[in-house]
């Protein structure tokens, strides 16, 4: 199988997710080439052809033009599979390529079993085995699903690609995440609030438990989107990635994006009324309870302890 991996380059940096693409290629024993709109000053470590478009000319986000550049690489390499990360860059560009090539697209692949692609369904509660029926398949890989056994090595043979295509959108720059506040990435104990807290008044229940445990409190995306907790406390792919000694997930179902942000925690306690919630998959202890009843009792007992 021939696979063309699509590396990402943002803010003048080659993103580390390229290693997950390489791990996927290794696992599927694919003959590998890579495509990147980037710079020759930062080349991915691997042995094979790198189709390189100059980021100074084409920009970091410019999907209509990146599509044409990638199609030029596809025309040369003739891959059977085109592999993206399931990221803001990948899920944006992948369907454009699939549409142009009349290829099937399989999104957010979490595993490959005997050549079959496995994806989540219903926010991770179920799994689906997908059978593409086209000569070319486009896939996006869930963040963190594929890991490399060894540090990547090698140096690619660079082939420049170019296009005359005009931009269809105008990308003018980045806006940074709000700085300041807490740095959850350094916290040893984190108690996080999810949608299950029900109303903003219950945030104090979570912060009280965090306090008595000597830690910080965090939140999942819906709680931050509702503006019950400030953004710099959000745990997940679009917030902070954390690795505390203890993570207590209160009323968090465990959306894939949240799990990606906390699954490196040493010990995970989940408090949830839904025994089948995906958070149970990463929990060392799952307390099946309504957090509004359970958390105050726990806090009180810890205080007395």
């Amino acid at each position: 199988m021939k696979a063309l991996l699509v590396a990402e380059y943002r803010k003048n940096t080659l993103l580390g997710s390229v290693n997950e693409l390489l791990a996927f290629a290794q696992k599927t024993e694919a003959e590998t080439a890579m495509f990147m709109v980037g710079s020759d000053s930062q080349l991915p470590a691997f042995d094979g052809t790198l189709y390189l478009a100059d980021v100074a000319e084409y920009g970091e986000y410019n999907p209509g033009v990146h599509k044409e550049l990638l199609l030029a690489a596809v025309a040369e390499f003739q891959p059977e599979m085109i592999v993206f990360s399931h990221s803001s860059y990948g899920w944006d560009l992948a369907p454009r390529i699939a549409c142009a090539l009349k290829a099937s697209q399989v999104s957010e692949v979490v595993d490959v079993e005997n050549g079959a692609l496995i994806v989540p369904l219903c926010n991770g509660k179920l799994r689906r085995q997908v059978q593409p029926e086209t000569p070319i398949t486009v896939v996006t890989l869930q963040a963190g699903a594929f890991g490399l056994l060894d540090e990547p090595s090698g140096s690619p043979a660079v082939k420049p690609v170019s296009t005359e295509a005009a931009a269809t959108i105008s990308f003018t720059g980045y806006e940074e995440a709000e700085a300041g506040g807490v740095d959850l990435s350094k916290a040893e104990i984190i108690v996080s609030a999810g949608r299950g807290i029900g109303q903003p008044e219950n945030v104090s229940m979570i912060s009280d438990l965090a306090k008595v445990l000597g830690g910080e409190y965090g939140a999942s995306r819906p709680v931050v989107d509702s503006e019950w907790v400030e953004h710099n406390r959000q745990v997940g792919t679009t917030g902070q990635t954390v690795s505390p000694k203890l993570y207590v997930a209160c009323g968090i179902s465990g959306a894939i994006q949240h799990l990606a942000g906390m699954k490196k925690s040493e010990f995970v306690v989940a408090i949830n009324t839904d025994k089948d919630a995906p958070i149970g998959e990463v929990a060392d202890v799952l307390v099946v309870a309504d957090l509004k009843q359970f958390v105050p009792v726990l806090t009180e007992k810890l205080q007395a302890d």
Binding site: Y61, P63, G64, H86, S87, S88, W91, D92, P95, R96, A98, C99, S104, Q105, V106, S107, E108, L121, C122, N123, G124, L126, R127, R128, Q129, V130, Q131, E133, T134, T168, I169, F171, G173, Y174, E175, E176, A177, R221, P222, V224, D225, T238, G239, K245, L246, S253, F267, V269, D276, A277, G280, E281, A283, D284, V285, A289, Q293, F294, V297, L302
Partner: protein
């Protein structure tokens, strides 16, 4: 100005799911259904744009069996002008290319200035349909927006990237936008608007009239992931649970020593 918003009806994700008899999807019986969460933000943005512009015409489209009308009524009560119900009893087995093909075929000759969709659905989660519709219509699209403003044929948006970073992007209409959670605060329909929605136009179009793309993939099987062993499940009275949990934390972590 003509606006289209595309919505999907999905099960409540807290539901107790079962596998269907074919073993290729979840069983759709005995589930509570609602509007895909991402699409609520799309509807809200479309309605706000209509309110700001004053003279916009806003159509909401949904594909599915008769039960999706309930979800469409919510969109109409939120402020959409009319509904287009593409009737299809087999919607859940259709893959993103077929769904996008149906929507693009409907939209092709309608000259929509702006199209809004959710960035993904909560069940299938492919994040493909919106971008595919735009590609099929040959109009620009911007995915995963968390901020939107529009004036004189130019939309200025923020795209959400990883780690809380946003990309600032602008595009001339016609264009399509896929909406991320947090883009706005979707409104709750008021009772008068729910009553008004009952009198709004709800067109019905059989899917056969719009479907001209073949499936490019199929689901071989659907199953529950294996539970990773080792996790302890505690159930019972809150006070007992708290004692049990404290005991476990003392034994297994260095935190309560």
């Amino acid at each position: 100005m003509k606006i289209l918003v595309c919505i999907k009806q999905v099960p409540d994700m807290e539901s107790k799911f079962k596998i269907d008899s074919a073993g290729t999807w979840y069983d759709t019986a005995d589930l509570a259904w609602r509007m895909n969460e991402y699409d609520e933000y799309a509807v809200e943005q479309a309605v706000r744009l209509k309110e700001e512009s004053g003279d916009a015409d806003l159509t909401v489209l949904c594909i599915g069996s008769d039960k999706v009308k309930e979800t469409m009524k919510k969109a109409l009560a939120m402020g959409c002008d009319r509904g287009v119900h593409v009737t299809d009893d087999a919607v859940s087995s259709k893959e993103p290319f077929e769904i996008a093909g149906i929507i693009a075929e409907f939209a092709r000759d309608k000259q929509f200035d702006l199209i809004f969709t959710g960035m993904q659905s909560q069940d299938r989660g492919s994040a493909q349909v919106g971008v595919l519709v735009a590609e099929m219509l040959a109009i620009p699209s911007i995915s995963t927006i968390v901020d939107f403003s529009y004036a004189d044929g130019l939309a200025e948006v923020k795209r959400e990237l990883e780690g809380g970073v946003r990309a600032l992007v602008s595009v001339k209409t016609p264009a399509l936008f896929t909406c991320q959670l947090g883009l706005n605060t979707p409104r709750y329909p008021t009772l008068p608007n729910i009553m008004k929605a009952k009198r709004k136009e709800l067109l019905s179009v059989p899917v056969q009239e719009l479907l001209n793309i073949q499936a490019r993939q199929k689901t071989a099987k659907t199953y529950f992931p294996e539970k990773k062993g080792g996790g302890i499940v505690l159930e019972g009275d809150p006070a007992e649970l708290a004692d049990n949990l404290i005991q476990i934390l003392k034994e297994k972590t260095a935190i309560l020593s």
